[in-house]
């Protein structure tokens, strides 16, 4: 069984500092939702509020329609994986995992059975008798997950569970956690500051800044259709070129259809240019759906699987573009210092407003 979570009007202030500023979000039963944001964005506070460790100043948190905002953490029946795992060093792996069951009065025999099954789910069954300090970081992480799922909570919260692992192990665990989510079918709320992790694992991603949710959407929409410059900048590499300021030397001709759909009505419209979506135009054949622009190649960096070109446009905008390293692509690369033409397909293009809601244009 998975539970839905309905959060409405959640606020938390520390003195005059607003950490959660009117957060409302509804999380579907069985959903994997990731809270993504820079440090200080309120993502961990939001998670701790759901867990019950932080008491909000206002708002409501309903689980399956039942209000829990005033409930003590131990009465919420929510599984939690902490950033540094928070495994009990004076208990063995098996005792750690069985602890939530012991608290719920489950008898010794059943306790051992269920702890063993939870450990098996994270492929740690042969480590039940080990002490915590005998485990590697990745193993501890798995034990922490086993302890969070052993009592079959309907909601599992994870606070940057992979941040202490090295890159390779992290990617492995991402796949494993995603698989675990599919088999268990529980609602998972996951906190990370790693945008790639968020895109890889989630059903939906909520991007937070200064205690507010800036955008909540599927990974594809968050990446391809960010609502504003902050979200675009935070998720992935991005370059921006102004579509109004033609006086500075970059003339971006867009079709009327594109202009009507994406540009009209936006204050200070900026064309979002993702490195992998920019083409290098070698022949002057005119495709109608291309937005073209010229630049000078500052450097060309071969990285094995990728080749990265840094370019400066006439108005001084610096762009990064990346291509695969197939021979036909390599042949088309500009020489360092030369002027070359780039383009982006209109279907790959996206326009954000340079003016943030509630902020003034620079």
């Amino acid at each position: 069984m998975a539970s839905s979570i309905e959060i409405a009007g959640l606020r938390k202030n520390y003195g005059s500092l607003s950490v959660l500023d009117d957060i409302s979000v509804s999380i579907k039963a069985g959903e994997f939702l990731t809270l993504l944001g820079p440090s200080g964005s309120g993502k961990t506070t939001l998670l701790m509020t759901i867990a019950g460790f932080v008491r909000p100043n206002a708002g409501s948190i309903k689980v399956d329609g039942r209000e829990i905002v005033t409930l003590a953490p131990h009465k919420r029946n929510i599984g939690m994986v902490f950033q540094n795992y928070a495994l009990f060093p004076h208990m063995s792996v098996g005792e750690n995992v069985a602890y939530p069951l012991k608290l719920r009065g489950v008898g010794r025999g059943e306790r051992d059975d269920r702890a063993k099954r939870a450990l098996a789910a994270v492929r740690m069954e042969q480590y039940a008798d080990r002490r915590i300090d005998q485990l590697s970081g990745g193993q501890r992480q798995r034990v922490a997950v086993a302890r969070a799922i052993v009592f079959e909570p309907n909601i599992i919260l994870m606070d940057e569970p992979l941040s202490a692992l090295d890159k390779r192990l992290r990617e492995e665990m991402q796949v494993e956690l995603k698989r675990l989510h599919e088999t268990l079918g529980r609602t998972i709320v996951y906190v990370t500051h790693d945008q790639k992790e968020a895109l890889t694992m989630s059903d939906r991603v909520a991007v937070l800044k200064s205690g507010r949710i800036r955008q909540i959407a599927s990974p594809r929409d968050i990446y391809d259709k960010p609502v504003d410059r902050f979200v675009a900048d935070f998720i992935g590499d991005s370059g921006f070129v102004s579509l109004t300021d033609r006086g500075r030397g970059v003339d971006l001709a867009v079709s009327d259809g594109f202009r009507a759909a994406h540009v009209t009505g936006k204050a200070d419209p900026l064309l979002l240019l993702r490195p992998e979506k920019i083409e290098i135009v070698s022949s002057p054949d005119a495709q109608p759906d291309l937005i073209r622009f010229d630049g000078v190649a500052d450097d060309v960096l071969f990285q094995g699987d990728l080749v990265v070109v840094h370019a400066t446009l006439a108005d001084g905008t610096r762009l990064r573009l990346q291509r695969g390293t197939r021979q036909n692509t390599m042949r088309d690369l500009p020489a360092v210092g030369s002027r070359f033409r780039m383009a982006i397909h209109e279907e790959d293009a996206w326009v954000v407003s340079g003016v943030q809601a509630g902020e003034h244009a620079p």
Binding site: H74, G79, N84, A86, F88, H90, R104
Partner: protein, 286 residues
Amino acid sequence: MSLQLNARLLTALETRGKAELALMVLPSLMIVALVIAPAIWLGVLSFSVDGAPSLAHYQRMIDNSSYAAIFLTTFQLAGLVTVITVVVGYPTTYAITLLPPRLSALALACVAIPFWTSLLVRTYAWMVILQRNGILNGWLLDAGLIERPLRMSNSFFGTTVGMVHIMLPFFIFPLYASMRSIDGNLTRAAHGLGATPTRAFLDVFLPLSKQGLIAGALLTFVLCLGFYVTPQLLGGGNVTTLSIKIQQNVIVYADWGAASALAVVLVVIVGLMLLASRLLGGRGAD
């Protein structure tokens, strides 16, 4: 050329290393002369009577029943003081760790300031408070709670109170250090997994602070065993501990051998206790 220079410089550095080592000779000699040699001399004294080897000093401890009473008093006092120190000190220390940083620093200062005050001054202060016509008796009489002044100084009770006060910092500081090293997320995790705050404390915080608790209690107990000033002044001759007996043997009877024998026994007991705690504690520690 430069290789030769390097070789010369490297030799010079090596020589300097030896010179630095030579500097340590004097302090080492001082420790031998001032600490180790006298201890050995005392040990030798305890095994001799009038210059001849003898076990008479140890034999006396077994034969003379007053010694058994002295050992009993010493251990009772040390045990009682330790128990009270733990009962008062543990919650106090726990409370200090829960305070916000500024307040906890203030609370620690409140523990430390009396610690820096002279032992003698603190003991005399307790004499003033506890004596027959002292402050406490005055209050109790004025409040009508008692009709005649209680006998609180010159007694086991007075000694216990004074020693608890003196021992508390010795218990609180090591325990505080050990409690601060416990990850706060652990009790939080227990709480989140379904433990009531009390249960989380009992299942997680208490076992993790056990090491510090034992270390602090042991330190307190050992310090109590050899404590002299407070039992002497607040006991008023009615509490005879090992340390007082040692002092009597030297000052009143001028019998260094008897005094040394008591000291040796005390050192052996303390040594055995530390060894035992090490063996017991070692299992949980790693």
